[in-house]
Amino acid sequence: MSGPPLRPLRWRPLAPLLLATGAALLLVAVLTRNPTPLFLALPLLLAPVAAGIAGPRSSPPVRIDFALEGAAADVRLRGAVVPEPGVDARDLVVEVERPASLVGDPARFDYSSTQIGFRANWTAPEPTITEVRVPTVLWRDPIGLVERETFSSAPPLVVSRYPPELLRIGAVRLERTTPLPGETHSRRVGESGEFHGIRPARPDDPPRQINWRATARAGRPLANEYDLDKTGDILILLDARPTPLGASVDERLFSVSRAAAVGLSDSFLRVKSRVGVGVFGEFLDVVPLSTGRTQRIRIEMALKRAHLSPIRAPAERCAVSVRRHFPPGLTTVVFSSLSDDSSEDLSPYLRRRGFPAVVLSPSPLPILSAASHLTPVDEQLAGRIARLVRRDRIARAWEEGPTIDWDDYWSLGKFVEFVRRPRIRRA
């Protein structure tokens, strides 16, 4: 048996209320030998049954087209729900769930008999990567007695918002430190990069790789071949260990780091660098080095799924695991909040294992000051002390390797400026 999955009809709270009232009126009519309550009971008892019969007998299929627009903090959702012919769109109820990391007003809806348009304007207070779920669409009878879930096959959308400076960071020339096993040539033939030549097409060649003009001239399918243009390799490592700041602050800092990691990987993948990702909580979860669109999706999915570890693992374990999965000499960007003394040890261990690490540290101070309940005078004093402690911590981390303090979450100018200067980067 094929077809859409069956979503059963559900009574809404009003239906049992009407049925119970109708049954009570029937009882009263018999007990008092008065037929008048019977006449009021009749519509109340029959309406829920009629609503069930008059509606669609199985989940009506609907088409949901929705997309995200906007840049940086601005997230605009636009979409439409189109039911199958025979189902009035005005009988549908659409529920759009706003992701927890975004703020803004509820979605607005425009109803017509054939479709429901919806739009929402949200704002990301901080860089974020999150999922916008497919809107829930219910068929509900006009009286509101019964409802049934509809069927749609739209995939969820992923919102990734990160500092705009990261769009330019891909232009940085990375060290090409990782020749592939057995690789001797500096250039390889691949599916993207500079044009290399024409060859007979293979069955697995994508349509965009087919050279249609050459195919028409030769009378047989021919495909383009490109030189694989590899500019370098980079490893993005996220510290997902808990800190004394507490779960909620850790979660927000980790969310900011994940978003920046997505931006960083996007930017380098766009210039065909190989990018690997590691998330170190209790153990190291990795996305191995690779390039291309598939790798972008792989990294996005991995970072979307990544979560904080409840257990604080030793930094040496991370360095050993990184060495096992990635070749040494790889340019490494470590995201760590450096919120306590023990979180500073990741960079030294990585360097000892041969990974030149740059630490990008999202500062917890903006989050802590926003959540503070002190008086303005005390707040000012506490802020000064916190900044001094933070500066001291960053200075100590600099002794082990380059460390960038990231206190304005929507700007990574300092970091981009730093990685553009290879001499400093190698220091």
Binding site: L14, L26, V30, T36, L44, L46, P142
Partner: protein
């Protein structure tokens, strides 16, 4: 977050169905013989209160709007005297209540029209029942039949509430 989460304005009140409910409920109250003309006032207040609840800014409160109307209809119909006119008005009040429910201001306009297939079924049943009461002779036997029908209805209602999936039809 859904379409009807936000509060709905007074302009979204659908006057036709509201007037229909108001007229039928107050007339039923008038016929029911409440002391000192208290019935129509009570009915009007309940309908106005329910209409106010429906346009309130809190959707959780708006969900309780049918309760006062239903309560006042029950209060009116229980002491109502036996009579063909009273019976007809009671049935019509029930139908007007359904049409008013369909004109939910938080949903797209035209709910009353779209609910006609649903409202037509109890309307038809009401017509048959009232015609039977009008033309068939009264006595103790019809009351017995009504009792049997009551028992059957209760069983069917209990079955339907427990298993709404009986309305489902799987795709071939």
């Amino acid at each position: 977050m859904s379409a009807p989460t936000a509060g709905v304005g007074l302009r979204s009140v659908r006057p036709v169905s509201l007037a229909l409910l108001l007229v039928s409920a107050t007339y039923l109250a008038f016929l029911s013989g409440f002391p000192d003309g208290f019935g129509p006032v009570l009915a009007a207040v309940a309908v106005a209160f329910a209409a106010g609840l429906r346009v309130s800014s809190h959707r959780s409160i708006a969900g309780y709007a049918p309760v006062p109307v239903l309560a006042v209809l029950v209060l009116e119909v229980v002491p109502a005297p036996v009579g063909l006119g009273t019976e007809l008005v009671a049935g019509l009040a029930g139908l007007a209540f359904l049409v008013w429910l369909a004109d939910d201001p938080s949903r797209p306009v035209g709910g009353a029209l779209r609910s006609l297939p649903t409202v037509a079924v109890p309307g038809l049943a009401l017509g048959i029942a009232w015609s039977s009461a009008l033309f068939l002779p009264a006595g103790t036997v019809p009351l017995g039949v009504a009792g049997a029908l009551l028992a059957l209805t209760l069983v069917v209602v209990a079955f339907l509430v427990g298993r709404p999936t009986v309305f489902d039809r799987e795709e071939a």
